[in-house]
Symmetry: C2
Subunit: 188 residues, 2 copies
């Protein structure tokens, strides 16, 4: 018999998404978002939800582009700082020492120091309530060679992405492999 | 200098979502989905994307409701099995031994053995491409007492949710706390 906890935004796990944008003056900015995930395979798309009050909101609407960077565990403090201050009055790249790299494909920057990034062009906008959901088509994935496996794809244990705990607002790491999808279930 | 990997559905981490529905005959069904995440705070909403070809798709459209269950590490094999077979020809609850519980609030079931579940009513449908994004308003959260902390909220280290690796399709666990959000960044 389960207990009722009320209507809450709890989901496990949630990601730590570094949303990269240029503002109206071309200043690069980063935002820390947890409300998002992959939302389509063909075309490959990612969804991220922002409040209209955020500085990044207008940037995405104007430029019709954003990036999603993945900070490794080592960049946890910088990633968290990005979620504490606003791009309205802070140059977050300068403050963190992160280096903005202009995407060749979309009108948005990503941080060189985060080992993984998605370059996205805005495909859909859905007003939900306090948050607006932006669907971005992933036009390219960029990754550092250091986080790739022998097959050329990212190795999650090398990437060491942060897991966001929606319940107690903590950052966690990813543990070792427990089983392969579409395989362990055959031995049910 | 990052390497280009092409346009791919990679994001770290991704969740393991057990989508619970009733079909047109009232048979309870579960689906294993990784394309989803929280998408709004007010009203609290979760998004999950399904292909039209899935058996669960019509159930969500018809019943305008679904649940999102979170399997613990111990339920990995059952969660994976749910992603291997189709509800068209298999009673997944019977095959896995999971117990369907009818939500009191929405027209959908969840599995008693998964320690955490969201009860959702369909709020928006967005056609993207191969996948359709369903936004569900979270009308209640249900959890087993065993996974709650002293404050009555889920403890992620008791819940032990699975992390899906979008790159190599593996299931991982969640590691220990590395830092508190909106706190560790102050010491940048």
């Amino acid at each position: 018999m389960k207990q009722s906890l009320g209507a809450k935004t709890l989901l496990f796990p949630a990601p730590v998404l570094m949303v990269g944008t240029y503002d109206h003056e071309g200043k690069p900015n980063l935002m820390n978002a947890a409300w998002g995930g992959i939302c389509c395979s063909q075309p490959p798309c990612v969804a991220v939800s922002l409040r209209k009050a955020t500085y990044s909101y207008a940037s995405i609407v104007e430029r019709k582009a954003f990036t999603i960077g993945t900070p490794s565990e080592a960049a946890m403090k910088a990633a968290d700082y990005v979620g504490i201050v606003s791009g309205r009055d802070t140059d977050k790249f300068a403050a963190t020492g992160l280096t903005p790299v202009k995407s060749e494909l979309v009108d948005a920057p990503y941080a060189a120091e985060f080992p993984f990034a998605l370059e996205c062009r805005l495909l859909h906008t859905l007003e939900i309530g306090l948050h607006t959901l932006f669907v971005g088509e992933i036009v390219d994935v960029k990754a550092d060679a250091e986080v790739l496996g022998d097959d050329g794809l990212p190795d999650i244990l090398k990437l060491k992405p942060l897991v966001f705990d929606t319940s107690h607002r903590g950052y966690h790491g990813v543990g070792p492999l427990l089983g392969k999808a579409l395989a362990v279930g055959k031995k049910l």
